[in-house]
């Protein structure tokens, strides 16, 4: 169980990035977090990951406070962030360096096979396409079998085709160990295609506007009428949240940065 309570973050320059976030995410749930830029969704993820400390409130996983990065939590960044000086398999084994060598090798082989890159184990990151590199990043985050996987706009830098492909792939990967997933995105379709529940955020200061539970059957049919209606509904919510932000910008001009 991932618990977020009264979470707020004020940066040293006085900018209030996040305020009063309350969320409880049951094990295995996929929670999409959508919002325009500057609504604090990345900050939220960094706080959950323990990369930054909250100003108020707390994040707890299975009742344990998160005050620094924890082994139960995996993170996929917007960019692959592979170490260019390590081969693909070495990059993936980064997260399980404490395990004995034999176990490490078998887990890395398994993780690479799951993302369909078993043949690239000995290659350098520079030899991979953007989509392949991001799949390696997924393998690296999942190889330690985290209970919670945090994804910070993981597919936003990819072309539309690769993106859809990787979204489906992410669901396949999720099915192995069923980790709790927090998916931050600005792509409403991505959120709808993947999430059980979707939180819409609004900016200045970043807070939760509304949480919805679209009763869409899986696998999600992106062209179905229901899907399109939900997309429209979320777009409207997002639109309202951005209008709120424009007023917010007037109150905190510096917050736009």
């Amino acid at each position: 169980m991932l618990e977020i309570s009264g979470l707020a973050k004020r940066y040293p320059n006085g900018h209030l990035a996040l305020s009063g976030i309350e969320l409880a995410v049951p094990p295995g749930e996929i929670l999409g977090v959508v919002g325009g830029s500057g609504c604090g969704k990345s900050t939220l993820l960094r706080l959950v990951a323990g990369l930054e400390a909250p100003t108020e409130g707390f994040v707890a996983i299975n009742g344990v406070r998160v005050d620094r990065p924890r082994p139960e939590i995996g993170f996929v960044f917007q960019e692959p962030r592979l170490m260019p000086w390590l081969t693909i398999d070495q990059n993936v084994s980064f997260g399980i360096r404490h395990l004995p060598k034999a176990e490490r090798q078998s887990r890395v082989g398994e993780a690479l096979a799951r993302v369909g890159l078993a043949d690239f184990a000995g290659h350098w990151p520079r030899e991979l396409s953007g989509g392949m590199a991001q799949r390696v990043a997924l393998a690296r985050a999942l190889v330690g079998r985290p209970q919670v996987l945090l994804l910070d706009e993981p597919f936003s830098a990819l072309d539309a085709l690769t993106r859809t492909d990787l979204q489906e792939h992410l669901l396949d990967l999720w099915a192995y160990d069923r980790p709790t997933m927090l998916l931050v995105t600005h792509d409403i379709e991505e959120a709808l295609a993947l999430s059980d529940r979707i939180a819409v955020m609004e900016p200045a200061p970043g807070r939760l506007r509304v949480t919805v539970h679209p009763p869409l059957p899986r696998p999600r049919d992106r062209v179905s009428l229901e899907f399109q209606e939900w997309k429209q509904h979320l777009l409207t919510e997002l639109h309202h949240s951005l209008r709120a932000s424009r007023q917010g910008d007037e109150r905190f001009p510096a917050a736009a940065i």
């Binding site: 924890r70 993170f75 960019e79 962030r81 260019p84 043949d119």
Partner: protein, 271 residues
């Protein structure tokens, strides 16, 4: 299974292009040497001030036969090696400190930048006063020359390590030691190797200056000796030895470090 194929094809294509190996680099100098030899041999130019290669070669053989050449080379090599060692050690230590801690940088960098602006030869009189005319002052002069490129490159490289990669290390709960060993060190290695090579080049430059300031052996002494006795071929001979040693030590350094840098995604011209 099919995907790696284009890659090996590309490698094969690159190999298929004739590149004559390292022999290509010899064409121009050897051509010039043969041309000069022929001009002097034909009596078209006087070889006294710029002796032909054959005369330089004979001089080298003479020096080698008398055992002098080995003595001079050894003396110079020892000076460069010691100076390089101390320069690298101090440059690495202080460069790492100034790169890692902004406090140390603010404390040390302004002074070091000011010292760097002094032409290093200007230290010679002072070093002779402080450390005497013998080996110590020579080694220190060389070490000073080697220090600055290493210090500059290392402190700069540490500060430009990608914050995003460091964050990956944080997510995986790296200790400070792991962070240095697994992320900072590999990330700065390319610039560090270039700095080592630049430092070594300066080491060879400064050893000549050091040996000019009074030495009874060494290749720099051979240079001065050739000038004093009006033997251009002796000067040429020691220049040739400098060129060979400089190139050889630089090659050693780059060959020794190449295997750590194969990962780089850098520009590789193949024309």
């Amino acid at each position: 299974m099919n995907e790696p194929a284009p890659l090996t094809e590309a490698v094969a294509l690159r190999r298929a292009r004739p590149n004559f190996g390292w022999g290509l680099g010899l064409v121009v100098p050897v051509g010039l040497a043969i041309g000069w030899e022929l001009l002097v041999g034909a009596g078209l130019v006087n070889g006294r001030l710029l002796p032909p290669p054959s005369k330089v070669f004979v001089t080298l053989l003479h020096l080698a036969a008398k055992g002098e050449l080995a003595t001079h080379i050894w003396a110079t090599l020892v000076r460069v090696a010691l100076g390089f060692l101390f320069g690298v050690l101090s440059g690495t230590l202080i460069g790492a400190l100034a790169g890692y801690s902004s406090w140390a940088r603010r404390l040390l960098d302004p002074m070091l930048q000011a010292l760097r602006a002094i032409p290093s030869i200007a230290w010679v009189p002072l070093f002779i006063l402080w450390f005497g005319i013998f080996e110590t002052s020579k080694v220190i002069l060389i070490a000073v020359g080697v220090f600055f490129p290493i210090y500059l490159a290392l402190s700069g490289a540490i500060r430009s390590v990608d914050r995003k990669l460091v964050e990956v290390g944080r997510i995986f709960r790296f200790s400070a030691g792991e962070m240095v060993w697994r992320i900072l060190l590999p990330a700065i290695l390319p610039s560090y190797v270039i700095a080592l090579r630049a430092g070594l080049g300066l080491g060879w430059m400064f050893v000549v200056a050091a040996e000019f300031m009074g030495a009874s052996e060494g290749l720099g002494f051979l240079l001065v000796d050739g000038q004093m006795t009006g033997q251009a071929q002796t000067v040429m001979a020691s220049i040739v030895v400098f060129a060979i040693l400089g190139k050889f030590t630089d090659w050693l350094l780059s060959a020794g470090t190449d295997r750590f840098l194969g990962w780089q995604d850098s520009f590789k011209p193949n024309l």
